[in-house]
C-alpha cells in the first residue's frame, strides 16, 4: 500500500489550537489543550495515547459531538471550506454521515439491540438521501458486502445479539459508510476483538484506505497503528507530545512518552526485558513459605488430566466448554494459555480453582485431586492457588476499602485467626508498588492499574505457590499493562511463584510465558515452548492466529509485515 499518490490531496480537516474543556459540578476541567491536526484526502492519521489522554474528546469535537457541557474553542476548525466554529446544528448534522462517518468505540453497545441491523444502516440513508425502499434495501446489502459480512441478505435482518463481535463491528462500520463519506473516524475499532477477527476488521479498513477514504484512527494499539497509519499523533494528558509520519514516530521517537509507549508493547522480542521505564525493582530476599524448598522439578505442582466440562447451551443442547485438556505446571514456570474468546480458557481456570466441578478427568495439586477432597483440605489448597481476574473492581466487596480487603485475605494465612500485623499489610502494598496512603482508599476511587495491583496483593496475601491470571492485563492500557507485566515478573522471582497466564493476546503470552497451550473450542490444539509455538506453529489454527497478529517490532523500530 502506498499512499503517496494521495498525500498531495486537498485538505479535509484543518485544526489549530483546539481546546476542549468541560463544566463540571467541581468547576471547569480542560481535557484537550492546543490540539492541531491536518487531514488530507486519502490520508490515514492515527491518534495514539492511553485512556484519558483526550484523543476521543478531541476527535468528537471535530464533528460537534463533544457534548452539551463541553466548551470548545479553536483558532482554526475547518472542514474543507466550512468553518465549524460557526456551524449550526444542521450543518454539523449534514457533515456527520454525509462527509464524516463515525465508528463508535464499542460495537457491543453501540447498536440498538431491538433493531435489526438493516434499520441501523438505513438510518443515515433515510436521513440524508431520498431513496426508495427498494433502493435502501439494495444499498444495505451492498454496504454489508463491502465490509465483508458474509450472506448479507440474511445478516441484514438479524439483531445485534445474533451476530458475533466481529460481525457487529463490521455492521457498525457499514453504518458509518452508508453515504460514502470521504472521511471515516474510527475510535478503537479493534479493541476487545480477537486477533483473527481484528485482522478481518483491519482488512476492511485497509480496503477503504485503498479506495481513497481518509481515516482518522484512534487507538492505543501500536501494532494496529503501525499497519494502517500514514501519520501519527501521540497524545498525553490532553496535549500532543509528538507527531510525524509513521516511520518517524515509530522508528525514531523523540519524546520520552512515545519511547515508553513503544517499549511497552509486549511481544516475543521483549522476552526477559522490562517493558516499563520505572526504576528497576528492588527485588527483596525470596521468602520461604512453610514448605521446605523442593528441588524435585520432575513433579508438577499443578496438573490437569483429561479434564472435560459441558454446559447446556441456550438451545438446551450440551456444549463442551473444556474437552479432554491435560497439562502440567512445574514449579517456577509460567505457562501461557492462549485462545480466542469462547475457547474455554476461563472455564478451564474455574475448573482448576474448583469453582466449577468437572465432568471427567482430574485436577491434581502436588498429586492430590483436591477439588474432590473434603472442605478442610480444599480450603487449605485454595490458599496455595490464587487467582486474579480481568475485572478486579467487581471482585472486591463494594463496602470495603483496600486495607480491609487485604486484611481479610491476610487473616486467612495467619492461622488461628491472628490479627494481621500492620507490617504485613505494608509489605504487601509495597510488593505491588502501592503504599500506606492507599490503605483507606475504596476501589472505586482507584485507577484500573491500581485496582489490579490491589487484586494481585490480595492474591499474594495468602502466600500462594500458584497464581492463575485470567486475562488479568487485558483491560489495561499498554503502558499500565507493561507495569503490571513487569510487576508479575518481579513477584514471580520474589515469591518463587508458578504462574498460569490466560490471555487472548499473543504478544503478552509470548512476552511472559515459558511454555504455551493453544486452545480452540475447548481443546488444546498445540502445546510447547513459547518460541517454538510462535515461530514455528504446527497446528493450522495456531498458524492462523500468528499470521493474524499485526506484527510490531519494537526491538529495532517500526516495521510492518506484508
Amino acid at each position: 500500500m502506498t499512499h503517496e499518490r494521495h498525500s498531495a490531496g486537498e485538505t479535509l480537516f484543518q485544526v489549530k489550537n483546539l481546546n476542549v474543556g468541560f463544566r463540571t459540578p467541581h468547576g471547569y476541567k480542560r481535557v484537550v489543550r492546543d490540539f492541531e491536526l491536518t487531514l488530507r484526502r486519502g490520508e490515514t492519521l492515527a491518534i495514539v495515547g492511553e485512556s484519558g489522554s483526550g484523543k476521543t474528546v478531541a476527535t468528537r469535537a471535530l464533528i460537534g459531538l463533544a457534548g452539551d457541557n463541553a466548551v470548545v474553542a479553536a483558532d482554526v476548525l475547518r472542514y474543507k471550506d466550512t468553518d465549524l466554529r460557526q456551524a449550526g446544528r444542521q450543518t454539523l448534522k449534514k457533515l456527520r454521515g454525509a462527509q464524516v462517518g463515525y465508528v463508535l468505540q464499542d460495537a457491543l453497545v453501540s447498536l440498538d439491540p431491538l433493531q435489526p441491523i438493516r434499520n441501523e444502516i438505513a438510518e443515515p440513508l433515510d436521513a440524508h438521501a431520498r431513496l426508495s425502499k427498494a433502493e435502501i434495501r439494495e444499498r444495505t446489502i451492498q454496504l454489508l458486502t463491502e465490509v465483508g459480512v458474509p450472506q448479507p441478505e440474511i445478516r441484514k435482518d438479524q439483531y445485534p445479539g445474533e451476530l458475533s463481535g466481529g460481525l457487529r463491528q463490521r455492521a457498525l462500520i457499514a453504518t458509518a459508510l452508508a453515504l460514502h463519506p470521504p472521511v471515516i473516524i474510527a475510535d478503537e475499532p479493534t479493541t476487545a476483538l480477537d486477533v483473527v477477527v481484528q485482522a478481518q476488521v483491519l482488512g476492511v479498513l485497509a480496503q477503504l484506505i485503498a479506495r481513497g477514504t481518509s481515516l482518522i484512527l484512534i487507538s492505543h494499539d501500536l501494532a494496529v497503528v503501525a499497519r494502517l497509519a500514514d501519520r501519527i499523533l501521540v497524545m498525553k494528558s490532553g496535549i500532543i507530545v509528538e507527531s510525524g509520519t509513521r516511520d518517524e514516530v515509530l522508528g525514531n521517537p523523540q519524546h520520552a512518552y512515545t519511547k515508553a509507549l513503544i517499549q511497552a508493547v509486549p511481544s516475543g522480542d521483549t522476552r526477559g526485558r522490562r517493558l516499563s521505564p520505572a526504576a528497576p525493582a528492588r527485588i527483596g530476599r525470596p521468602r520461604r513459605h512453610g514448605e521446605a524448598a523442593e528441588n524435585d522439578s520432575a513433579t508438577p505442582i499443578l496438573e490437569a488430566k483429561h479434564l472435560s466440562k459441558s454446559f447446556h447451551g441456550p438451545d438446551g443442547r450440551l456444549r463442551e466448554a473444556v474437552a479432554d485438556v491435560s497439562f502440567e505446571l512445574f514449579k517456577g514456570e509460567v505457562l501461557g494459555i492462549v485462545g480466542a474468546s469462547g475457547s474455554g480458557k476461563s472455564t478451564l481456570a474455574r475448573l482448576l480453582l474448583a469453582l466449577t466441578d468437572y465432568d471427567a478427568g482430574a485436577v491434581l495439586y502436588r498429586g492430590l485431586e483436591w477439588p474432590r477432597a473434603d472442605d478442610r483440605t480444599k480450603r487449605r489448597v485454595r490458599g496455595k492457588i490464587s487467582v486474579v481476574y480481568q475485572d478486579p473492581y467487581s471482585s472486591f466487596d463494594p463496602r470495603w476499602n483496600v486495607g480491609r480487603i487485604l486484611e481479610d485475605a491476610l487473616r486467612l494465612h495467619a492461622e488461628d485467626g491472628h490479627a494481621p500485623q500492620r507490617a504485613d499489610l505494608l509489605e504487601l502494598l509495597e510488593a505491588v508498588g502501592l503504599n500506606e496512603s492507599h490503605l483507606r482508599a475504596r476501589p472505586r476511587h482507584l485507577s484500573g492499574g491500581q485496582r489490579q495491583r490491589v487484586a494481585i496483593a490480595r492474591a499474594l496475601a495468602v502466600h500462594p505457590e500458584i497464581l492463575i491470571l485470567d486475562e488479568a492485563v487485558s483491560a489495561l492500557d499498554v503502558s499500565i499493562q507493561a507495569q503490571i507485566l513487569d510487576l508479575l515478573e518481579d513477584l514471580k522471582a520474589r515469591y518463587s511463584l508458578s504462574i498460569l497466564f490466560i490471555s487472548h493476546d499473543l504478544g503478552v503470552i509470548h512476552h511472559i510465558a515459558d511454555r504455551v497451550l493453544v486452545m480452540k473450542d475447548g481443546a488444546v490444539v498445540e502445546e510447547g515452548d513459547a518460541d517454538a509455538v510462535f515461530h514455528a506453529p504446527r497446528h493450522r489454527y495456531t498458524q492462523e492466529l500468528v499470521a493474524a497478529l499485526p506484527h510490531f517490532d519494537n526491538s529495532r523500530g517500526a516495521g510492518r509485515h506484508p
Binding site: R379, S394, S395, D397
Partner: protein, 290 residues
Amino acid sequence: MPALKLSLPAGLAQGRLGQTWASLSRVPPLVWLSALLIAFTLWASIAPATLVAYDPLETDLANVLMPFTTEHWLGTDEIGRDLYSRLVHGARESFLIGLLAMLVAIVLALPLGFLGALAPRPVRHGVDRLIEILLGFPTLLVALLFVTLLGQDPLNVAIAVGIGSAPGYARLIRGQTLLVRNSAYVEAAVALGHTRAAILFRHIVPNAIRPLVPITGLGVGKAIVWSSSLSFLGLGVKPPSSEWGALLAAGKGQLLEAPWLLVVPGTAVVLVALSFSTLFHYLQARSEGA
C-alpha cells in the same frame, strides 16, 4: 428538581463541615419538605400535646361540624371535637402501626428470602413456591384474612398488614441475595479459601440487605395506607381512637355536610405516605450512587 440554593460564610466552605453542607445544599426542596413533614409526624406521635390547643376528646357542642375557622382551623366533627387535635393525636397510632407492620414484614421476609436463595434445592424450591403463592393474593386480602383471624386491635392490624406485605419483601431479598451470591467478589472469597460461614456473614448478608434500608422506609408509608384502609373498612382500629383510618371511617357518614372530615385525614395519609416514598426514593438513589 432544582437544587436549593443556600450560601455559607466563606471560611466554612472548606473542610469537612463545608463538604457536608455542600452536599446537603444539593438536596432537592421536595425532599426537604418530605423530611420536614415526617419530622412533624414523628414529633406528633411522641408529644402530641405540645402541638395542639385542644384535647382530642373534648367535645364542644356549640361548635359542631364547623368548617375551617380560626379557632378550629381544620374544622370540628359531629360532636364538636377539634379535627386538628384528633389528627395530631392519631399520628402516633398510624405511625406506630406503620413501623410495626414494616418490622413484622421484614422479620418474616428475611428468613424466607435467604432460604429461597441459599437453602438446599428442595427447601429452596418449597420456599420459592410458597412466596409465589402468597404473592398471588393482594396484600389487603391477606391482611383482611389475618385481622379477622387474630381479632381487631391495633397490634393485630400491624401484624396483619406485616404478613400481607411480607411476600413482596421476601421476593426482593431473595433476588438480591442471589445477585450477591453469584457476584465476582463472593467467588473471589471462595477462591481465597474462606469458610462458607465467613462468606455468608461478611459478604452475602450485609450486601443483600443493604438496599433494604431505603426500601423499608418506602414500606412504612405503604403500611400506613394499608392499615388506614383496614380501619376505614371497620376492621382495624375502632373509635374513639383517632387513628387516621378510623377518622376516615367516622367521616364518611357526613360526606355531604362536612366533606373536610374525609378530606383532611385522607390528605394526611396521602401526604405522609408520599413523603416517605419521596425521601426514601431519594436516599435509595443516593446510596446507589445516582
